[in-house]
Symmetry: C2
Subunit: 162 residues, 2 copies
């Protein structure tokens, strides 16, 4: 099941569905690729999906340690490396953070709209952006790689609040 609506999630949406969908899609994708979605990896993915905002590795670490466990940074970074490798999360360079990918398995680039005020983000796939980027690249003899293109701005809610 995909997200009910495109765009920024409604404040009152049933977020449990988002998490459940993401975990199910991850399990399916790992099974298909012969990759092991271990406990830690699934837990990290779940924390990444605990909101619609990119989350830092050390915040993930803190969240996982709330039950008294003492995990070390490499544990989280290794899980994140795995999730990145299998397209289950995006690295958000502009924020040194990580964001759950709602539709793993892109062949091409995807765009991430990131609100600089509230920090929430949404993944979009815009044909025209990809096409324009590809065109620009061609003109400069440049080969574009699949990637996450980060676009910063203000979401509707933050604009309304201002």
């Amino acid at each position: 099941m995909a997200h009910p609506k495109p765009g920024f999630p409604e404040p009152e949406h049933n977020h449990g569905v988002c998490v459940a969908d993401a975990l199910a899609a991850a399990a399916e994708r790992c099974a298909a690729r012969g990759a092991r979605l271990t406990d830690i990896r699934r837990e990290v993915l779940e924390v990444v999906w605990s909101s619609h905002r990119p989350i830092g590795a050390y915040d993930i670490l803190a969240d996982l340690g709330r039950d008294g466990r003492r995990l070390a940074p490499p544990t989280v970074y290794r899980a994140l490396d795995f999730l990145l490798e299998h397209g289950l999360v995006h690295r958000v360079a502009s924020r040194n953070a990580f964001f759950g990918c709602p539709s793993p398995g892109h062949a091409t680039a995807v765009e991430l709209l990131i609100c600089t005020e509230c920090g929430s983000a949404v993944e979009v796939q815009e044909q025209r952006v990809s096409a324009a980027v590809a065109g620009a690249a061609t003109r400069h003899d440049f080969e574009v790689l699949p990637q996450t293109i980060e676009i910063l701005g203000r979401c509707a809610a933050c604009r309304a609040a201002a």
Copy 2:
């Protein structure tokens, strides 16, 4: 001033001209805005322009310290903050680095094509990319801010070498 690997935009070019142009444009822009392009700020900008590759703050620091001076990180970061504020350099989040802006004063977003193999970059301004991004933003009720959009790929030289 020779850079180890020539950038993909201009394999062999008179790089002194790039630096001189950049410094002249910076001086002009600072004068117009009543901002002080001090010695350190100019030196940092010069180091940023020493190649066509984004350079890290600590590499700038090392470069400035080659004559025996012992500068501290805040000195470089403050100069970079100034240069960012006045649009003279771009922050390249995907590489934790900084890149000289050849045409300060953009009203809109610019794109940076960054080669993941040799690290070279080139700034481009593609109307169709901006338009497509603006369209995508509108569809998601999102207000795009002026920014540097980073696009990763492989330059022609690196493709040829492979």
